[in-house]
């Protein structure tokens, strides 16, 4: 595998990559409306459609960060609007605990953000994405695990770990 130099990620034209989990009923349709209303928003998000914000297992978020994405956005229907009645209420509880835990573990809350965007809120989706992108840009690239990989290499016996 080609080893990319560290400097590449730190260069001026670095742009964050953000994975957005959007609920199929509200936020995905909201993002669609943003596009069809010709509202522009930063192209840094990669959208992943999920059936419900309740489908987003905290593990998905952890794995996304571990995989090197610079930020995560999870968006679903407003409380009370869930297509499955209570998916977003249940999700909210998990996310409340997860976001506090991530903060305690040392991951800046700006890297993992949550929002409620309905199908009619095309403008809100654009605003949310802009805010998330601005937050992640201020933080810089996700080098949480990368920095440590180089430390491990220096120790020798663990060098096979990447």
């Amino acid at each position: 595998m080609e080893v990319k130099p560290e400097v590449e990620k730190k260069s001026k034209d670095w742009e964050p990559r953000i994975l957005a989990f959007l609920c199929r009923w509200c936020s995905y349709a909201g993002a669609d409306l943003t596009g069809s209303s010709r509202i522009s928003y930063p192209p840094n998000v990669r959208i992943l459609r999920v059936p419900c914000s309740g489908r987003v297992n905290p593990l998905f978020i952890l794995k996304t960060l571990r995989g090197g994405m610079d930020g995560v956005l999870v968006s679903g229907c407003h409380p009370g609007d869930c297509h499955y009645t209570a998916g977003n209420y249940n999700a909210r509880r998990k996310f409340a605990v997860l976001s506090r835990l991530l903060e305690y573990a040392g991951i800046d809350p700006r890297r993992v953000q949550f929002s409620w965007v309905s199908a009619s809120e095309g403008d809100k989706f654009a605003k949310v994405v802009s805010e998330v992108v601005a937050g992640v840009k201020a933080l810089g690239p996700n080098e949480l695990f990368r920095l440590n990989a180089s430390k491990q290499t220096a120790q020798g016996p663990q060098s096979h770990r990447q």
Partner: protein, 318 residues
């Protein structure tokens, strides 16, 4: 621990075997290491002679209910009884299958901590005895008195449930009063800036060798197939890289949120000495603060992630 406690226990359990009320009894036996006990699974009356009740009965015996099915008796401390409440609530064991014997627990001795406090190796210690609010240690022919804070397991210092919450009978002895909440120790790390938190945890996760001892010893981890062993799709790489260790530990916390009773077994068995309880305590504090949920106390209160309220905290969501 008074001499007669052991005899009393053996008498109670013998009677249970005679009456056919239990097929197994989970207790403590003499450990292979000085001052430590090891779990003992008695299958008949003869096995009971190995039963010991000492001042370091640290293991949470509720763990073995994962594998031992059918009518079973077990010895529990206050903290372990919370795991039982959780397991019953989760449908992992039936209350009517259990015969719970409560153990008076003044706090359990941590030999490694004592050894460190007196500046000796733990093999060199001759005797450790609990005397009221102090712990007397005999080492090198001398006797030293240690305050409880330097001799007991960390979890015992903040014990809120010294008396079992569910039991069928209690062994005679003194059941200590709960330690007031006000004396809870602060976790300094929580006040530190976020970059320092990451530096701290990155180093801890870097040391993890992924032996899964923390998972295996956890009474709240009872999935027949753990997600770390899942390989289609593979969620977490089995290689102990810092990144995958991070995913593993945080994921495990989310899985035991609501069932973790802070029994401290994960940290106790960790061969790398990773302070896992810091994470668990943060999580249990959050559950208490956000949802007024305390694990293993109220058998009728639903688990925090299986219920919701419309007015749950929403301020972190845009």
């Amino acid at each position: 621990m008074p001499e007669n406690t052991e005899k009393e226990l053996i008498a109670i359990v013998s009677r249970l075997f005679d009456e056919g009320r239990i097929h197994h009894f989970l207790g403590y036996g003499k450990g292979t290491v000085k001052f430590k006990t090891t779990p003992l699974i008695a299958r008949n009356r003869e096995d009971l002679q190995g039963l010991r009740v000492e001042d370091s009965c640290a293991t949470n015996l509720a763990l073995y209910l994962k594998e031992i099915k059918g009518p079973v008796g077990l010895l529990v401390k206050g903290c372990d009884s919370r795991s039982l409440v959780t397991l019953i609530k989760e449908g992992q064991v039936k209350r009517e299958d259990l015969y719970v014997v409560g153990l008076p627990c003044p706090g359990q001795i941590d030999p490694a901590k004592v050894a460190q406090a007196v500046g000796f190796e733990s093999e060199e210690l001759e005797e450790i005895t609990l005397r009221g609010s102090e712990v007397a240690v005999r080492v090198g022919g001398q006797e030293k008195a240690l305050p409880k804070t330097l001799a007991l397991l960390d979890k015992c210092l903040n014990c809120q449930y010294p008396k079992p919450l569910i039991f069928d009978c209690l062994l005679p002895g003194e059941y200590a009063a709960p330690i007031p909440q006000a004396t809870l120790t602060d976790d300094e790390l929580r006040k530190k800036p976020i970059s320092e938190k990451w530096t701290f945890w990155a180093e801890q996760f870097n040391r993890c060798i992924r032996c899964y001892a923390c998972r295996n010893v956890c009474p709240a981890c009872f999935c027949p197939r753990c997600i770390v062993e899942e390989n289609m799709p593979q969620w977490v790489s089995p290689l102990p890289t810092m990144g995958d260790n991070f995913v593993f530990h945080l994921m495990r916390l989310m899985h035991v949120a609501g069932t973790c009773t802070s029994c401290g077994e994960c940290q106790r068995v960790c061969p790398m000495g990773i302070p896992l309880m810091k994470l668990n305590e943060k999580m249990t504090d959050d559950l208490r603060e956000l949802f007024e949920f305390v694990a293993g106390v109220d058998p009728d209160k639903p688990f925090p992630f299986r219920t919701y309220r419309q007015e749950d905290a929403d301020n972190f969501i845009k």
